[in-house]
Subunit: 315 residues, 2 copies
């Protein structure tokens, strides 16, 4: 059994997770991210102990604790090198939680944790596995032979910052034309908004008005009701996404690419055109093909993934 | 000691290579690619034996033989699944060369071999290493922990077929906007030709005329003589290339990206603007940085890499 901690800008979510990635018990408290980081970590320990008490599990039954944390992480030293979301610099988070719990603590970037969690539960033992999450940004991680692909400096796997349109729109990272700028939920909302401005009489425009604004669902909902402008938005968005995914396929040849994050809830309305495009243009013509599937873990991916980081490291 | 075979569309190059990747002796014969493949493989064996005789090395001193072959290779079975360049389908090449030599034979894609060869000789033990070759196409390979990254179906590492310009120019692979269409030597020549058409009075146009046509050097040579149109060509080409390389950096965080192929001979005139762009836009701000260097192995990369494939497999 492991404890997984999913540290977010809003909540600290903690779970007791069995060896197979099933959550036995979970809970959360507010992060209150402006307070001293030691207090945040203290709350991870406090919540862990509460969950153990609640379930009657002893701390001695926990093999190790994993933390998923936003930012740049040195997974070997357990240091949060830098985090913008929860303000931290050179903070020895693993050591601190070890001090508060007496357990071995391992830490990784939250996107890597999500990929490892999804892989553990839904990866079917794939030799190469990629998770791409479509949320505020485009995140993800790459799992090779069951392990997170970190790069030499632990900063690898930034799939959202592959260039998709050289010289294209500016990304928050400073580069132009990142996949994130074209395929995130934020991008989809922007693309929908632009199409509404150009097509003020469309059903899509009406739908946005009725619902008090544009969301990542607006274009899909309007398309399902037969709106042509909405269909064009979905088609273009699917093309951007598919162009990114087929690049990952050509580079990694993963057995599975799992798509998570809010936009993935659009389901087949998104996956069908994405798969159709990839089938048409993939480089690999003669070997078994990559499968593009919907990620199955939702919010729990972080907790489970953090626990799986502990499982992977605790050998 | 190993034997490395670099099978190309024009020549079969064979070398005896020591355990550290140094060529002891090498030679080549014409591939004559339209003849029966068994004959091509027989010539690999014949040339190997000639080189052994010439050097006084016994076949018993050779630990294994490696082949670098164009096309889709099943590295586990030693099968050439498909090759367009040298017409082959489901050909058990490793078994055949084993039959002719009595040695263990391993085979990998020629681009992967080149990457492994460059890594063995110039990789400085990097945990993650990427080779990108700028030739007729854009090839390359990824070395992780000293091993070729193959993907689940052995078709991975097609770095030239990452999308760089979504919806851009058509690639020979069938997809639009591949890195290869913007950053290969072929692309550079095309970009140079287009600029010459637009600037018929430029020094670059004169240079092309004097030299009987445009090559991958024309723009660099004209730029060095102060031609503004040529400078613009180099700047745009460097930007395309750098946009691809920084994507590989953000994805893999390799310690080293080595650039090979004909265009890399332009040297600092190319590397300087490429590094400058990457320094400005890389995602990783807080950890050690990827180094972009010129690949050092030229034509020998194939032989050495094939031998290193044998070394890696022969354990």
């Amino acid at each position: 059994m492991y404890i997984g901690v999913d540290l977010g800008g809003t909540n600290i979510a903690v779970g007791i997770v069995d060896d197979n990635g099933n959550i036995i018990e979970k809970g959360s408290v507010k992060t209150l991210k402006e307070r001293p980081t030691d207090e945040i970590v203290f709350d991870m320990a406090r919540l862990s102990k509460e969950l153990l008490k609640k379930t009657g599990i002893e701390m001695s039954q926990i093999k190790a604790i994993g933390i998923g944390c936003p930012g740049t992480i040195n997974v070997e030293t357990g240091e949060v090198v830098y985090s913008n979301n929860i303000p931290m610099e050179h903070y020895m988070m693993a050591d601190k939680l070890k001090e508060y719990t007496g357990k071995a603590v391992y830490i990784d970037n939250d996107a890597n944790c999500a990929a490892l969690g999804e892989y553990a539960v839904n990866g079917q033992g794939a030799k190469t596995f990629v998770l791409v999450t479509l949320g505020t940004g485009v995140g993800g991680g790459v799992i090779l032979d069951g392990k997170v692909m970190h790069g030499f400096n632990f900063a690898g796997g930034e799939l959202g910052h592959m260039t998709l349109v050289s010289g294209g729109k500016k990304c928050t990272c400073g580069k132009e034309g990142c996949l994130e700028v074209y395929a995130s939920a934020t991008a989809l909302i922007e693309q929908t908004q632009e199409a509404i401005t150009k097509n003020p009489d469309s059903l899509m425009a009406q739908l946005a008005k009725d619902n008090g604004g544009v969301t990542g669902r607006t274009a899909f909902d309007a398309m399902n009701k037969g709106d042509a402008a909405a269909k064009a938005v979905v088609e273009q968005y699917a093309r951007y996404l598919a162009d990114g995914l087929v690049s990952f396929e050509n580079i990694f040849q993963p057995e599975i690419i799992a798509i998570g994050g809010g936009v993935s809830n659009a389901g087949e309305a998104l996956f069908e055109p994405v798969r159709e495009y990839i089938d048409k243009v993939r480089f690999n013509k003669f070997m078994p093909k990559t499968k593009v599937v919907k990620a199955l873990l939702g919010n729990d991916a972080g907790i489970i993934g953090a626990a799986m980081v502990a499982r992977a490291a605790d050998v």
